[in-house]
C-alpha cells in the first residue's frame, strides 16, 4: 500500500512531553524508595540502639568517597546537556562518557564495600548474622543491602541510558533541537544521585 509509509510512524517528538514524562517517572521512583525510607524509619524507631551499633560497622570513608564521586558525576552530566545546547556535540559525548566512567567507579567501590561485609560474614541469612546479631542489627543490614543494592541497580540503569544517549549523540538522533534523551538521562542521573544523598547519612552518619 503506497501510503503505508507515512502512516506507520506519526513522529510524536515533543520536548515538553518528554520532560513531563520523565518527571512523572521520577515521581514513581521517589515513591518506590519512599516506601523503603518509611520502612527504615519504622525500624529505626523500634530499634534505635541496634541501628546505632550496626552503623558502626559501615565504612564511612568509602561512603563519603562515593558521595563525592556521585556529586561530581551530576556536575559532568549537567555540563553535557549544556554543551549540547551550545552545539558542542563532541564535548557532550565526552562529558557523558566521563559520567559513565564515574558511575562505574561508584560500582567498583560498592563492590569492595560489600565484599568486605561478606568477608566479615555479613549478608542476609548468614550464620554470623543469625547467631550473633540482635534482631535490630539484622534489620539494619537487611535494609542496608536492599536499599544500597536497589540504588546500585539504578546506577546501572542510569548508565544504560547513558549508552543510549551517547549512541544518539553519535548517530544524530540526539541533537541540539532534539535534546530530550540526553536531558532525561541527566534528570534520571540526578535522581540516582539524590537518593544516594539520603542513603548516605541514613546508613553511615546518623548516630
Amino acid at each position: 500500500m503506497e501510503h503505508a509509509h507515512h502512516v506507520e510512524h506519526p513522529d510524536m517528538y515533543d520536548e515538553e512531553s518528554s520532560k513531563i514524562g520523565m518527571w512523572l517517572f521520577i515521581f514513581t521512583e521517589l515513591l518506590l524508595f519512599g516506601a523503603l525510607f518509611v520502612v527504615y524509619a519504622v525500624y529505626r524507631y523500634m530499634n534505635p540502639d541496634a541501628f546505632h551499633l550496626a552503623a558502626e560497622e559501615l565504612n564511612r570513608m568509602i561512603g563519603a568517597i562515593n558521595t563525592i564521586i556521585l556529586l561530581i558525576s551530576s556536575m559532568t552530566i549537567a555540563m553535557s546537556t549544556t554543551a549540547l545546547r551550545k552545539g558542542h556535540r563532541k564535548l557532550a559525548i565526552a562529558l557523558v562518557s566521563i559520567t559513565f566512567l564515574i558511575g562505574l567507579a561508584f560500582l567498583v567501590n560498592k563492590y569492595f564495600e560489600w565484599g568486605v561485609k561478606f568477608s566479615h560474614g555479613i549478608w542476609p541469612g548468614s550464620e554470623h548474622m543469625l547467631n550473633e546479631m540482635s534482631q535490630g542489627e539484622i534489620l539494619f543490614f537487611g535494609l542496608y543491602f536492599v536499599m544500597t543494592g536497589l540504588h546500585a541497580l539504578h546506577i546501572i540503569i542510569g548508565m544504560a541510558i547513558m549508552v543510549f544517549a551517547i549512541r544518539g549523540l553519535i548517530n544524530g538522533k540526539v541533537q541540539i533541537d532534539r535534546p530530550s534523551l540526553l536531558d532525561n538521562c541527566g534528570l534520571y542521573w540526578h535522581l540516582v544521585d539524590l537518593i544516594w544523598i539520603f542513603l548516605f547519612p541514613l546508613f553511615y552518619l546518623i548516630h
Binding site: S17, L31, A35, V42
Partner: protein
C-alpha cells in the same frame, strides 16, 4: 461524507504498515491496535479466571470434597484472584477503552509515547506468562491468596516467586500506561478543548492515571521485598528476624486500596458517557463529577487501614480509618445522584449499553452500601473474612468494573469494528448474565452474615442452601457470558455496517468514520466556544 482514508479503504483494522499479518499487530504502535491487543488478552484472561471461579463454585456445591482437595482450592482462589485483579480489572478499562478512545476523544493522532505504549502491552504479556509459569512449573501453584500476606508468602513451599515477579511486571505496565495518558491529556488536546470541555471518561482516565502512578510503585517495592525475603531472608517482614508482618499489610493496602479506584474510576467515566448519550441530555453536574473524581483519587489514599481492622492496630487509628472510609463513600454517591438526575426528564433511548449502565448503577450501589458495613468497626469484626466480603468485592469490583466494561463494549463496539451487533442477542446476553450475577453473589451476603468463612473448600451443612443457589448462579452467569461473547465475535465479522454515530453522541470519537482511519482525523478538529461533549440541544 466519508473521510479520504476511508475511501481508499485503509482504516486502522485493515491497513498494512511495516509488518504483515500478526506481526503488524503485535509490533504496531497505533493506539487503537494496542487497545485491541489488550482487549483480546484481557478477555482471554477473564475467561481463564471465570473458569477457575466456576471450578470453585462447583467445589462449593456441597459440603465436603466435591471436585478438589483443600490445597487445590487454595491455589484456585489465589490464581483466580491474581488473574482477575492484576490482569483483568486493573488494566481493564484504561488499557482497552482508554487506549482505543482517549486520543480520539481529545482529537489527537495517538498517545504521547506510542512506543512506550506498545512496551506496556509487552510488559503486560510478560507478566501474564510469568504468573502462568508459576502454575505450570515448580512445586505447585501459589496458595497464599492474591494478597501475598507475610509471613506465609515466604514460608509456603509453593512456587510463589514467579507469581510475585509477574505481579510486579504487571504493575510496571500499569505505571507506564498511566504516565502515557497523563502526558497525553496534558499535551495533546486539540485546539479549543479546554479542561472544562473534556469528556468525563477522559477526566476519569486522568484521575486513574495519577493513582496508577502514585500507588503502584509502593506495591511494587513491597512485592520485591517479599521476593527478597523468600530468596535471601532479609528479615524485613519476618517476625523471627525482627520484622513486622503487619507492616507488609500496611504497604500492600496503601496500594491496593487506591487500586480499587484504578478499577472503578474509568468505569464511572464510561457510565458518564453512556448515560447522557442515551438520555440525549447534558450530564447533570459535570463539574461535580470531576471534583468527585479527583476527590476519590486523593482521599482514596487515606483509607487503607479498613482492610486491617482485625489485624491489630490502635483504637485511634481504627476510628480514623473508619471515618475516612465513610467520607470517601460520599463522592461515589454524588456520582450516582448525578447519573440519576441526568436521566430525569430525558428522552431515553433504551439500548443494550443503557441496560448495562443501569444495572451497573444498581450493583455498584449494593456493593458500595455493603462496603459501609465493612467500613464500620463493629460490624466489620462480625463479617470480616466471611463470604460477606466476597459478596461485597465481587459486587463492587466485578459488578462495577465488569458491568461498565460490558457497557463500554456495547457502546463503542460500532466505532471499534465498524459494525453493529445483533441487538436482541446482546440484550438476552445482558439479561442472563445479570440474573446469574445476582444469583451468584447475593447469597454470599446472607452466608457471610450467618458466619460462613471465606477461603475454605468446605462448609457446614447449614450453609448448603445458599451455596446451591450461588453455584447455580455461576452457571447462568457463564451462559450469559458465552452468549455475549459469541454475539460480539459474530457481529464483529458479519454484523451490519455501522453508521458513524449510531447513538447520536456529541463526543469527538463519533465524528470520524467507523472504524476510525489510521491517523484518526484527517484534519485536526477544533472545538468552538459553544461545542461541548454533552451539548445536546
Amino acid at each position: 461524507m466519508q473521510t479520504s482514508s476511508a475511501v481508499n479503504g485503509a482504516n486502522y483494522l485493515t491497513y498494512q504498515g511495516k509488518y504483515k499479518g500478526l506481526l503488524g499487530w503485535i509490533f504496531s504502535t497505533d493506539h487503537k491496535r494496542i487497545g485491541l491487543l489488550y482487549m483480546y488478552s484481557i478477555a482471554t484472561m477473564f475467561a481463564t479466571g471465570l473458569l477457575l471461579g466456576l471450578a470453585m463454585k462447583f467445589e462449593l456445591l456441597a459440603p465436603g470434597k466435591t471436585i478438589m482437595e483443600a490445597q487445590t482450592y487454595n491455589a484456585t482462589f489465589t490464581v483466580h484472584g491474581v488473574i482477575m485483579i492484576f490482569m483483568v480489572v486493573v488494566p481493564g478499562l484504561p488499557a482497552v477503552f482508554g487506549n482505543l478512545m482517549l486520543p480520539l476523544m481529545i482529537g489527537a493522532k495517538d498517545v504521547a509515547f506510542p512506543k512506550l505504549n506498545l512496551l506496556s502491552w509487552w510488559l503486560y504479556v510478560t507478566g501474564v506468562f510469568l504468573v502462568l509459569a508459576a502454575l505450570l512449573f515448580g512445586p505447585g501453584a501459589p496458595d497464599t491468596g492474591w494478597t501475598f500476606y507475610a509471613p506465609y508468602s515466604f514460608k509456603t513451599g509453593t512456587n510463589l516467586l514467579p507469581a510475585v515477579f509477574g505481579a510486579f511486571v504487571l504493575g510496571f505496565s500499569s505505571i507506564l500506561t498511566g504516565l502515557n495518558f497523563l502526558v497525553t491529556i496534558h499535551r495533546l488536546r486539540c485546539p479549543g478543548l479546554k479542561w472544562t470541555k473534556l469528556p468525563l471518561f477522559v477526566w476519569t482516565l486522568y484521575g486513574t492515571a495519577w493513582i496508577q502512578l502514585l500507588a503502584t510503585p509502593v506495591v511494587g517495592i513491597t512485592l520485591v521485598l517479599v521476593a527478597l525475603e523468600r530468596v535471601f531472608g532479609v528479615g524485613i517482614f519476618d517476625p523471627a528476624l525482627g520484622g513486622d508482618p503487619i507492616l507488609y499489610q500496611h504497604l500492600f493496602w496503601i496500594y491496593s486500596h487506591p487500586a480499587v479506584y484504578i478499577m472503578i474510576l474509568p468505569a464511572m467515566g464510561a457510565i458518564s458517557e453512556i448515560i447522557p448519550t442515551f438520555a440525549q441530555k447534558h450530564i447533570f453536574g459535570y463539574k461535580a463529577i470531576i471534583a468527585s473524581t479527583m476527590a476519590i483519587a486523593f482521599v482514596g489514599y487515606l483509607v487503607w487501614g479498613h482492610h486491617m481492622f482485625t489485624a491489630g492496630m490502635s483504637g485511634t487509628a481504627q476510628y480514623y480509618f473508619s471515618l475516612l472510609t465513610f467520607i470517601v463513600a460520599i463522592p461515589s454517591a454524588i456520582k450516582v445522584f448525578n447519573w440519576i438526575s441526568t436521566l430525569y426528564k430525558g428522552a431515553i433511548n433504551v439500548q443494550t449499553p443503557f441496560y448495562w449502565a443501569i444495572s451497573f448503577i444498581f450493583v455498584f450501589m449494593v456493593g458500595g452500601l455493603s462496603g459501609l458495613v465493612l467500613g464500620a468497626l463493629a460490624t466489620d469484626v462480625h463479617v470480616h473474612d466471611t463470604a460477606f466480603v466476597v459478596g461485597h468485592f465481587h459486587y463492587i469490583v466485578f459488578g462495577g468494573t465488569g458491568f461498565a466494561f460490558f457497557a463500554a463494549m456495547h457502546y463503542w463496539f460500532p466505532k471499534i469494528f465498524g459494525r453493529m451487533y445483533d441487538k436482541s442477542w446482546a440484550n438476552i446476553g445482558w439479561l442472563v448474565f445479570t440474573i446469574g450475577f445476582l444469583a451468584l453473589y447475593t447469597p454470599m451476603f446472607y452466608l457471610g452474615i450467618m458466619g460462613m468463612p471465606r477461603r475454605y473448600y468446605d462448609y457446614l451443612e447449614e450453609f448448603h442452601g445458599g451455596n446451591i443457589l450461588s453455584t447455580f448462579g455461576s452457571w447462568v452467569l457463564a451462559t450469559g457470558f458465552v452468549i455475549i461473547v459469541v454475539n460480539l465475535i459474530r457481529s464483529a465479522r458479519k454484523g451490519e455496517p455501522a453508521e458513524k454515530n449510531p447513538w447520536h453522541s456529541k463526543t469527538l470519537e463519533w465524528t470520524v468514520s467507523s472504524p476510525p482511519p489510521v491517523l484518526n482525523f484527517d484534519e485536526e478538529p477544533v472545538i468552538g466556544e459553544n461545542d461541548g461533549p454533552y451539548n445536546y440541544k
